[in-house]
Amino acid sequence: MKPIYLDNNATTQVDPLVLEEMLPYFSELYANPSSMHTFGGQVGGKLRQARSRVAALLGCAPDEVVFTACGTESDNTAIRSALTVRPDRRRIVTTKVEHPAILGLVEHLKKTEGYDVVLLPVDGEGNLDLAAYKAALTPDTAIVSVMWANNETGVVFPIPELSAIARERGILFHTDAVQAVGKIPMKLSETAVDMLSLSGHKLHASKGVGALYVRKGTPFAPLLIGGHQERGMRSGTENTPGLIGLGKACELAQTHMAEENSRVRALRDRLEQGLLAAVPNSKLNGAKEPRLPNTSNISFKFVEGEAILLRLDQLGICASSGSACSSGSLEPSHVLRAMGVPFTFAHGSIRFSLSRTTTDAEIDLVLTELPKIIDTLRKISPFNEQNAMEEEKPACGC
């Protein structure tokens, strides 16, 4: 059975056109793009085209794109580079809701090298407080890293504005845009972003390819040191098929962006509104807008997320959850906790993330089946509707 795949923030299907573009570079066109012979030059030329295609999607120059092996590598490179080129500065500013690719790294840097790490809080809707952001940017700050869009809630941060504030203060600005690239139009040349991470497998390219945008003139120190590849900014022979696929995927993302923001958004809204209307004691996690057009994170009170996922799985429906059990940890998602989502809700959160492959029929199926699943699980739960909150009373005039 073909899965009903509503977990596109975890990874996406490689687009058939991307695969077609990749295949020759696994077989007959296997040369090393750095080689001096014509055979190598053929692959090198194709890699240059891929770089231009990525740059076109980002709105930057091709030589500002450094190919890497994943989003995590891009994130690690950016942060460590900034710390190396600003050796006199000891502060790293980021947010509580970043992906582990950032949070795990900065915690490590704090523990092993004593950096002063500031994790900015968010409000109940997942938004940053601009005043707190400005206050955190002291002269001792080496780098600010704020994600463009949140992978769990889809909430979008105002990156053009935040990067401008950092630049005014002479602080390098990095953004983890792994979830945003291909879904949000961007023109980096018109922002003050110094570095940006992206990952291929989130936009219908293959796993294990990524890129780091480094604005021209930004001081930079490589993470991987060795040969001369990527102009010395990232050594190691390039994953040519993967990166050529990434180029194609970026080109396709450009052409599908309008659809993502109209058809996919409409499907997402129908799913979200349908579920919130059909299931009592459910709520949306995160701000409604600005938000990625494909993501919806909904909590169902009194039930546990992993149990919901497993019953969805029985029907071939793929989603994910911020509950403790589903992650293998014992605490619910750090993003929902940072937003202060009550634990009566946090343990029962489900994230749906759609893509251009999602169909109307798939959304219909979830809308028929999920309310039944919640109902069944609530009948098993000792915390029943009787303890439920009454509807919020209208505000009083006192």
């Binding site: 009194f302 546990e304 059990c325 605490e331 098993i380 000792p382």
Partner: protein, 284 residues
């Protein structure tokens, strides 16, 4: 995706004995919504203390629901004394095994059974013995030692999987390793550990974090909420960090300028009186 056995899936998808018993002879409740799983077990016995009816309600993941369902099938028809010989490993075995990270679900089953039997026999809940090792989940050294002995645990990860201890902030990992070393006689993997500190003389049994959270939940449900609802307001417990209680006020009190006063004088006073004089209530 967890690697669940067919038996776990079967008991999760078609749980046996779900529900409550109107006039149960014994009811056992363990866990809380805050901790991510909770189990309520209802028992009815005949004059020979033989279990004639058993029902459960569980909030939790697939393995928590399956463990509860399995437990009810296992105890049915047994006398209480026979039922009490069931170990958490027996529950896991009945299900064809549980992933290690989920073993605490089977431990929860056994604890609910013990609580229900105590309730039925009119015994008081045992005071917390020993020293609290894991503050996040309120686990004592006594509970950890028992899990180590009964399940032949050898690593800190094992202990977390079976008791949840160490699954939060991870500050207690060193202490858990010390207990493991004492209990099993095998030294810590890396550096030699210092001699275990002598058990602290406890003036009075402390409440575990989990007990405190449960009590706070109960007081809010039973005392605070009705009080606020009478005024057209409502309250939701958001989080508990030791003695700081974070709540969300809803309805009338949110927009009312006196909500600061409502908080301090109302909710905090009640919680201080009924739970702990050190409690501070914050909105967040």
């Amino acid at each position: 995706m967890w690697d669940y056995t067919d038996k776990v899936r079967e008991h999760f998808l078609e749980p046996r004995n779900v529900g409550s018993i109107e006039n149960a002879d014994g009811v056992g409740e363990v866990g809380s919504i805050a901790c991510g799983d909770a189990l309520k077990l209802f028992l009815k016995v005949d004059e020979n203390e033989r279990i004639v009816e058993v029902k459960f309600q569980t909030f939790g993941c697939a393995s928590a629901i399956a463990s509860s369902s399995a437990l009810t099938e296992m105890v049915k028809g047994k006398t209480l004394d026979e039922a009490l010989t069931i170990s958490n490993q027996d529950i896991a075995d009945y299900l064809g095994g549980l992933p290690k990270e989920k073993m605490h679900c089977s431990v929860m089953g056994r604890e609910a059974l013990e609580a229900a039997v105590r309730n039925l026999r009119g015994e008081a809940a045992p005071e917390v013995e020993g020293e609290i090792v894991c503050e996040c989940f309120g686990v004592t050294d006594v509970q950890i030692r028992r899990a180590i002995a009964e399940n032949h645990l050898t690593t800190v990860d094992d202990v977390t999987a079976f008791t949840k201890a160490g699954g939060g902030c991870a500050k207690c990992h060193e202490r858990i390793q010390e207990i493991l070393t004492e209990a099993t006689g095998t030294p810590a993997p890396a550096s030699a550990s210092s001699p275990a500190p002598a058990p602290k003389p406890e003036e009075k049994p402390r409440m575990t974090n989990m007990q405190r959270i449960q009590l706070i939940e109960k007081v809010i449900e039973e005392d605070v909420r009705p009080m606020l609802m009478a005024d057209g307001g409502n309250i939701e417990l958001v989080d508990v960090d030791r003695t700081t209680v974070f709540v969300k006020l809803q309805g009338r009190c949110t927009s009312c300028p006196s909500s600061g006063i409502t908080l301090r004088t109302g909710v905090e006073a009640v919680l201080r009186e009924k739970v702990d004089p050190a409690i501070q209530v914050k909105e967040g």
